[in-house]
């Protein structure tokens, strides 16, 4: 599974990093940064889907 983060949409809510620290990291202002090009490690798919669903501004999507 692979996730996409839209930089124009992220407003720094940070829910993604709370759910999935393997893929999301927050910068000093709280905006999300994608790690490993958005590749979700095996076994973390459910938490990845929660990070997608819990983003209030729909900045995250599943791309593959």
């Amino acid at each position: 599974m692979k996730l996409r983060l839209e930089l124009t949409k992220c407003e720094g809510y940070g829910n993604c990093a709370a759910h999935l620290e393997e893929v999301f990291e927050l910068d000093e202002w709280g905006y999300a940064m994608l790690k490993n090009d958005g590749d979700v490690p095996e076994g973390a798919e459910d938490r990845a889907l929660r990070s997608v669903a819990d983003c209030p501004v729909h900045a995250i999507s599943v791309v593959g």
């Binding site: 839209e6 930089l7 124009t8 949409k9 992220c10 407003e11 720094g12 910068d27 202002w29 709280g30 905006y31 940064m33």
Partner: protein, 442 residues
């Protein structure tokens, strides 16, 4: 003519002159707008050259690269759009956002038919159903509209889309978005316009100077095109020269010419150079070593700089590069698209840090550390390249002027304190546009 008089004279009317060794290809010094009969008498709109797929191959063989700033191989872009299913569009991008560049507006105001000829040939080659001219400049829009009237019907319909001028408006996804009726602001990628552009269809967005080279390649061929320039940067380019030079203005010169030779042929400098702003504001700053470097896309990139849109600003030895960088960063902080959080916050933070470094010695080691961190961590964190340009500006300041930066640790900088703290770099560095280029009242 004294330097002061030269500056006054050119402030009213910038120099427009070929300074190439070969006959100029794109630019002529005569004032006024080139009419349809003028352009046709120079060989314009003539059939019989390379067309269709053969034109794409000729452009590939010519090695033409995009003149908007990215220097992407034009032939590759054409092939990508031609190979996709859908109702294809071609956009002549004349929205010249870089404040120090004037070449796109000159081309559209003075030589609209050269641009349209390139647009129509390119649109035919990729099998486009619709062509667009995208710009903000009023006189340029009028000039292009007049040119379309002179032509009557065109084989492929051409639509003009005019937007408010903005630094980010010329970015290719901003162009596509604005043509579709949205705001002229960049989008996240992918998709790129060749995948999904205007109306979601495959779209080629090409700078107007890039397109202006197409009729020449089509008529005279790739070997002719390669008679100027270098192997990887063939052809000539339009150089906008501004700042501490005797004759700020627009020049055409062979790619690969050294910056020092280009400046000499353009009339020279008014003082010893302290450094240069490269590629508009996008290529960062570089020290006087740039005088010996060839104006070649790859070579300047290897040096950590860039030719970008071909606009170069000279600053004198009396200017502190830290203050120059602070001024340009304030422009990035003001003029970014205000879309991506890291860009909004990052450019503001770097602006404040550079202003603090310029102003005085307090907390400076910490300021320098933060700047160095951001110059790395903020790369790739925006939907468009603005934040990369801002980060690159800081990198270039530390790389090119370490002694100047270090001197700010010792105490207040006299040259910086002589500067206004937040100079407006758009008026400070830009070349005025002449109303004598045609296309209406200017």
């Amino acid at each position: 003519m004294s330097a002061e008089r030269a500056r006054t004279a050119t402030a009213e009317r910038p120099q427009v002159a070929p300074i190439s060794e070969i006959p100029a290809r794109l630019l002529f010094a005569a004032s006024g707008r080139e009419s349809l009969p003028d352009y046709e008498s120079r060989g314009g709109y003539r059939s019989g050259g390379y067309e269709g797929r053969e034109l794409i191959e000729a452009i590939e063989a010519a090695g033409l690269r995009g003149r908007g700033g990215a220097a992407f191989p034009t032939g590759v872009k054409l092939r990508a759009v031609a190979g996709r299913e859908g109702v294809r569009h071609v956009v002549a991008n004349g929205e010249e956002g870089e404040p120090t560049s004037i070449k796109d507006r000159w081309l559209m105001r003075a030589r609209p038919h050269l641009v349209l000829d390139g647009l129509l040939r390119t649109a035919a080659a990729v099998g486009a159903a619709q062509a667009h001219v995208y710009l903000s400049d009023g006189p340029a829009a009028q000039s292009v509209a007049e040119a379309l009237e002179e032509l009557g019907t065109t084989p492929i319909p051409v639509r003009i889309t005019r937007v408010e001028p903005a630094y980010v408006a010329g970015e290719e996804t901003a162009a596509v978005r604005a043509i579709g009726g949205g705001p002229a602001k960049p989008l996240d990628k992918p998709p790129r316009p060749f995948e999904a552009g205007v109306d979601g269809q495959p779209t080629l967005v090409a700078n107007v100077e890039t397109l202006a080279n197409v009729p020449l390649v089509a008529s005279l061929g790739p070997d002719w095109f390669r008679r100027a320039g270098t192997e990887h940067s063939p052809g000539t380019f339009l150089l906008t020269l501004s700042g501490a030079c005797r004759a700020p203005g627009l020049y055409e010169i062979e790619l690969g010419t050294s910056l020092g030779v280009a400046i000499e042929r353009a009339g020279g400098l008014i003082c010893d150079p302290g450094g240069f702003l490269m590629g508009g504001f996008f290529g960062g700053i570089i020290g006087s070593r740039a005088l010996d470097l060839p104006l070649d896309y790859g070579r300047l990139r290897d040096e950590g700089s860039g030719l970008g849109c071909g606009a170069i600003t000279v600053f004198g030895e009396d200017a502190c590069p830290v203050a120059i960088a602070a001024g340009v960063m304030s422009f990035f902080a003001e003029s970014n698209a205000k879309q991506c959080g890291p860009c909004i916050r990052g450019t503001s933070a770097m602006r404040d840090a550079l202003a603090a470094l310029s102003a005085g010695p307090a907390e400076q080691p910490a300021v320098i550390e933060r700047l160095q961190g951001w110059s790395v961590s903020l790369r790739g964190r925006g939907a468009c390249a603005t934040l990369d340009g801002a980060a690159g500006l800081v990198t270039s300041l530390f790389r090119e002027f370490p002694d100047h930066v270090a001197s700010h640790l010792a105490g207040p900088c006299k040259r910086c304190s002589a500067e206004e703290l937040t100079p407006d770099p758009t008026t400070r560095f830009s070349v005025p546009i002449s109303d004598q280029w045609g296309g209406g009242s200017g």
